[in-house]
């Protein structure tokens, strides 16, 4: 029943960490979910819960990357599945501040309501709405 949500999770992770690292985060997300799954009741919000785990994996990923201080640019050797590099789209989303990036990814890649985005980000619904709004505004500026 978990893999019904594979689309949303991968979509979110591509937006959150970029196409080349999304798959690793995807594997970690689903492993963590499998380990924790029996604790979740049948009626729980499986998708919201999975995306929250994915969100945490994305944060871990960015922290790890920060420590290693590797450049975040999309090298030409990167040819992993996902929209072609150089379109600037993923670079632009990845360049957003973390909360805005997550909010934008959850809102548009996962079609998630602001209430659930707020739960995933552990903030108020207003703050979630603001993060989506600011994120889209910044995307407009970057891509204008």
């Amino acid at each position: 029943m978990l893999d019904r949500h594979a689309n949303d999770v991968l979509g979110f992770l591509i937006a959150a960490v970029g196409p080349q690292d999304a798959e690793d985060c995807f594997q970690e997300t689903f492993l963590a979910a499998l380990r924790g799954y029996p604790k979740l009741g049948d009626d729980g919000n499986l998708r919201g819960w999975l995306l929250t785990i994915a969100h945490h994996k994305a944060i871990d990923h960015h922290r790890g990357r920060g420590r290693r201080a590797t450049p975040s640019g999309e090298g030409p050797e990167v040819a992993v599945a996902g929209p072609e590099p150089g379109s600037g789209i993923w670079g632009a989303v990845a360049g957003l501040p973390p909360k805005q990036r997550t909010a934008v990814a959850l809102r548009f890649a996962c079609d998630m309501p602001h209430r659930e985005i707020a739960a995933a980000l552990d903030c108020s619904e207003d703050a979630a709405r603001r993060n989506v709004h600011e994120g889209v505004k910044k995307l407009r500026e970057v891509l204008a």
């Binding site: 029943m1 978990l2 893999d3 594979a6 689309n7 949303d8 991968l10 979509g11 591509i14 937006a15 196409p19 999304a22 798959e23 995807f26 594997q27 689903f30 492993l31 499998l34 380990r35 799954y37 029996p38 049948d42 992993v80 599945a81 996902g82 929209p83 789209i89 632009a92 989303v93 934008v104 990814a105 548009f108 890649a109 079609d111 889209v136 995307l139 407009r140 891509l143 204008a144």
Partner: protein, 203 residues
């Protein structure tokens, strides 16, 4: 909103490319298996009667869901009655798929597959275990199966045990007919029951 931003958001909304999702799920089946977290592997398979769904645990084949049955219902049942760790992992069902292919083409008369009986218990399980021993090309009556399960008068219960068979085809409930030879019911529909009997040369 300008056109360029629109296209950004549309790409996000469209989601990841299909092949990326397939690749990620395929790799996850292996990763989960290696981590010992794959409790139920399932595969969707084509059959001469339409798509079927096969599921196996570490013990063996636990479910065959026929074309007439809803795959989602089967997956929900596996998730609630066996384990929520249900993952599409066709490689774990290679043997089952190979034997079924041979059977459907008339080149296999006896399945040699480990079975997991956990979706059935008690009298029902006894009926189904006896059913598993009915030879290819032969048929039995409901009364006979009730008797073999230890209660000759429980032919209705035997009928409902066969109707609840979680592993049809491999546990050949299609070989059980009404006394007098009438076809009786079948989870995959009467036409499929008849076709299987014909395949085995006993129609």
């Amino acid at each position: 909103m300008n056109r360029k931003t629109d296209s950004v958001l549309r790409e996000l909304v469209d989601g990841p490319p299909e092949d990326a999702v397939v690749a990620a799920r395929g790799r996850f089946a292996r990763v989960a298996d290696e981590a010992g977290l794959l409790d139920v592997a399932y595969a969707r398979e084509d059959s001469p009667f339409g798509p079927i769904l096969l599921a196996a645990t570490g013990l063996g084949l636990v479910m065959v869901s026929l074309p007439a049955q809803e795959p989602d219902t089967a997956l929900r049942r596996l998730s609630s009655e066996v384990s929520p760790r249900v993952i599409e992992a066709p490689a774990r069902l290679d043997n089952v798929r190979r034997e079924l292919d041979l059977y459907f083409s008339g080149r296999l008369r006896e399945f040699d597959l480990p079975l997991d009986w956990q979706l059935t218990a008690g009298f029902r399980r006894r009926v189904l275990r006896a059913t598993a021993r009915i030879p290819y090309g032969e048929t039995r009556s409901y009364t006979e199966m009730a008797r073999r399960a230890g209660n000759q008068r429980a032919q209705r219960a035997a009928g409902s045990a066969l109707g609840s068979n979680p592993i049809p085809i491999v546990v050949p409930c299609h070989r059980v007919l009404r006394s007098g030879g009438a076809l009786g019911g079948y989870g995959g529909g009467p036409a499929m029951k008849e076709a299987l009997l014909e395949l085995e040369g006993s129609a």
